[in-house]
């Protein structure tokens, strides 16, 4: 079980990281989602993997740790809200720039003033 679990986390995380490094917002959003799935599973496993155990200390030789499950629930809720927000933001980016490149239309010009025929600003 541990091996399968670890492989699943690894696959989710690596595909997530690969997609985040893409230049379009859609793969980035999907990548963030996959990454958060991988992270949630990882967090779940930090209480050790056990089946058929009680979540109470002292009643049996080993127990299923309930705390990581509470943490994962919190992380899922937060991750879901953030995904919703980033989807809306990507759509706004698409609408504003008519392109879903993560930098807008062209390679993004950093804070320097935009091309300007007249520099006196009258």
């Amino acid at each position: 079980m541990e091996l399968v679990f670890a492989l699943v986390i690894g696959a989710l995380t690596s595909s997530g990281v690969y997609l985040i490094l893409r230049a379009r917002t859609f793969p980035v959003v999907v990548g963030l989602t996959l990454l958060s799935y991988g992270v949630n599973l990882f967090l779940f496993s930090s209480g050790r993997l056990a089946t058929g155990q009680q979540p109470i200390i002292g009643t049996a030789a080993s127990y299923a740790d309930p705390l990581p499950q509470a943490l994962v629930l919190t992380a899922i809720v937060i991750g879901f809200a953030m995904t919703a927000f980033v989807v809306v933001l990507s759509l706004r980016n698409l609408a504003d720039n008519e392109d879903d490149h993560v930098d807008g239309k062209q390679p993004y010009k950093s804070p320097a003033p935009e091309e300007e025929s007249e520099v006196t600003g009258k």
Partner: protein, 505 residues
Amino acid sequence: MNHWLTAPVLIPLLGGILQAFMGYAPISLRRTLALATTVLMLVSAIVLLLMANDGSYRIYAFGNWQPPFGIVLVLDRLAALMLIMTAILALFCHLFSIGGADEGNRQFHGLFLFQLMGLNIAFLTGDLFNLFVAFEVLLIASYGLLMHGGGTARTVPGLHYVVLNLIGSAVFLISVGMIYSVTGTLNMADLAVKVSQVSGEGLSIVKAGGMMLLVVFGLKAAILPLCFWLPRAYSKATAPVAALFAVMTKVGIYAILRVYLLIFGDDAGELANLGMDWLFPIALATLAMGVIGALGSGTLKTLVAWQVIISVGTLLAPIALGSEAGLSAALFYLLSTTWTVGGLFLVSELVANQRGSAKDRIITAPKMQSRTFLSVLFLVGAVAAAGLPPLSGFFGKVLILQSAESGTEMAWLWSVLLTGSFLTVIAYSRAGSIVFWRTVDGHLNKPEPLNGRVSVAAGALTALAIVMVVLAGPIMAYTDATAAQLHNSDAYIEILQTPMVGKDS
């Protein structure tokens, strides 16, 4: 148990919920209530500061659960200092936003208050996972605030900011999981006990988790390889939002101070002072990067945004060295730089509004109105930020320089900090002389005159640099005591023994 500790969380929470439900109420009513909430929060922060000043730890255990099993809020000198710093900054930012920047978005005040709530939870919490939740609360509010205001200029920097912080959250969760899997606890005081007992295989897992936490906090604090999102995002944000964001990087610095001094402090056995040998060179490189950015910036707001990064480098260098004098100096400079940078963002916005199409770009333009007032404010802000006498930035930097003990570290710190300050002075003089002195003839479309609220807010926030000099004695005494308290992590661990309500101790 002390119920006052919940006040800085509950006040903005209730105020924010109220705002969320009254989006269609008259704007004057919303403004009055929102400002009243911020004032109340400042009052509660002052109360907590007076309480914390006796040097003891106070806790509030949610649901009366004994730590380490429940989540606790912990008040000590450092937390109180951060609360009061945020509350004062927030009050003036809020006042400024009421001068007109809050129009166009019915939920501006709600988001602003939720952001304050997230900041206050982060400063008060004594639990690592709760710190994650606080980060998320303040981040999701900040995403909304960053996008506030019309136009398309903010979309791309906003998207970068959101995606980067989501990745940061994922890394935070991974490191929390790694630390929990070995220590079995997330309460900071309990972690401080458990981490020193870790040995064998667990050691490298906790070490990896601790270093990944440093990456996350470094992303929030904008240290060198992770700082390039900041100037774009901050310079495009609405002025009061950018000024409030001056405190956001300080949350990362606070988290580094709290976690690395308490959990990975001198008593942490094999993991003592984890990551601090990395932090010092990175801090100096961040400082250098910030100075280069400031020299090359094309607008006033970008210049101030790079000043945020300069101050992060300046703050982290003495923190990484870890001496008590260095910590005290860093805390003094922390207050000074946060307020000054906030003030400079507000002043840049006022300047931008008075210069027609030239906005805040560092180019010549026709004479602006209210030139004397604005240029004096900019001068005060620039002098404090660059660290020239007689304002607070100078004293902060002198204290930081003094705190370095002799040796190679001192040589590095002195040379980088002094050269950096000199080049910062050049950057500000160039910007100031072009914007305020080198004017051309021409006609400006009549700009809106300054109104009382924005002038008072920008003026007061900038003038805090002078107030800090006048009150330097008491502030120094407080930061000295804070540094001493931070170095005595045994006292923090004793909160685990605090009796709960209704329990015979």
